[in-house]
Symmetry: C2
Subunit: 258 residues, 2 copies
């Protein structure tokens, strides 16, 4: 009998290398292959698809509780994937970004460091997915971790199209019986209304905090946020050709010249 090579799994996130969601994912994925962790040394939420050009990147060994080891990078999630692949020469069979604390749905995915790491994986032709738990409080990562393992196997067996990653959001439930299923969804298009909290500092200078967002959710059941409200795990296939092909034709008829 021929020995099968173990599956190489690269994990990263945007909550930082010390985040419980990453540790829960790592614990689970160790049952399914050879796990490598390369993650930001500090929280990188809402960094979007940033990369670090103006500062040098450093890689440090990070240990926790005797059973967790990873490489901590002083950069963004996208930096972590680039440096894992090109500098640390980790060539994984699959990349998982998460488990993020808080959902990554709708137009917010363009701000998402979690998704950006999976995007970098996709650019390197590594089958990649981002996975998020839709709560900030009392997280229970077990459903998401188990589902990540299941989805990994499916992806490794079936493959993903070039240029496409999966964006997974798992409803926050205390008991896994509450999950009502899995839904293949599209990215919601609902627009947000931002709010700023205007304050005066002790030195009498104004400053602003970006705070709440209000949004009118779409009603179709196959929209990411709507699936989650229905306690379904949402999976959106994501690609990065941003061209609006429909409008492209119309724009040609404007006859713009210089």
């Amino acid at each position: 009998m021929k020995a099968r090579k173990p599956v190489k799994i690269l994990l990263t996130n945007d909550d930082g290398i010390n985040a419980p969601g990453l540790h829960a994912l790592c614990q689970e994925m160790k049952n399914h292959g050879e796990v490598y962790v390369v993650a930001p040394d500090s929280e990188q939420s809402a960094v979007g698809h940033a990369i670090t050009l103006s500062d040098p990147l450093r890689v440090q060994n990070f240990y926790k509780n005797d059973d967790f080891f990873g490489y901590a990078v002083n950069g963004t999630p996208a930096d972590c994937v680039k440096i894992a692949y090109w500098a640390l020469e980790i060539k994984p069979d699959i990349l998982i970004s998460g488990i993020n604390l808080g959902s990554n749905t709708g137009i917010n995915i363009i701000y998402s460091g979690t998704v950006s790491a999976a995007t970098e994986g996709m650019f390197l032709n590594i089958p990649s997915f981002a996975i998020s738990l839709t709560t900030f409080t009392n997280p229970n990562f077990s459903v998401a971790a188990k589902f990540a393992a299941k989805l990994s196997k499916l992806i490794l067996a079936k493959g993903l199209p070039q240029g496409t990653l999966l964006n997974v959001n798992v409803p926050a439930v205390q008991n896994e019986n509450e999950i009502t299923g899995v839904m293949i969804t599209r990215q919601g298009r609902a627009m947000y209304r931002e709010e700023f909290d205007k304050r005066t500092d002790p030195h009498h200078r104004l400053y602003y905090w970006l705070t709440g967002q209000k949004v009118k959710l779409e009603t179709e059941p196959d929209v990411d946020d709507r699936a989650i409200l229905n306690n379904k795990i949402s999976i959106t296939p994501v690609q990065f050709d941003l061209t609006n092909y429909d409008f492209l034709e119309e724009l040609r008829e404007w006859g713009i010249n210089y």
Copy 2:
């Protein structure tokens, strides 16, 4: 005769409020309406679509040469647009982000602060475009500035579809006669090969610089980078529904459950 209200124009960028490209754009656009500038107080290149959640934002008045005034924000381009609209209550008829030093084409647009500012404008239903000059050396912004004015008028007359912005790249030429026309393009899909420069610091610690990128350009003439090589101004209509609809159907047939 009824007096027409002047067009309100919001300018921003990612090279920072002191960047010559922004000043050239401002100078030109003042001939066409009421110009407001809200831009980062420092360079924010390759920040992607980042927003600032963990630090307070401050707005400072910025003056230069008696004829330039703008609001400088200690945040990203996306922050600038949000704060202009919601906190400074500037409600423009059109938003222009640029003129960026260096091209924003192909998959690189997801790292682009210049494009992210136009995206924020689009989210606020402001007709928006990003404009970049495809050089880092000896920039001559006059062609791009003139073209920005022309395109603004067209957009104000015809409108843009909801959820769509334009991404404009202007070839770097010394003489405007060298421009061979305008082309409506699609975003290139060419993948990059990253390189890291590995060094040792004076304290014997390793560090990395993200450096070169190599790419095999697509050959179709209607790809953004290809149009620029042909000395054409490239205009790509960009939207942010990232769903891969083709693969969505196939993914439904995987029958994933929990």
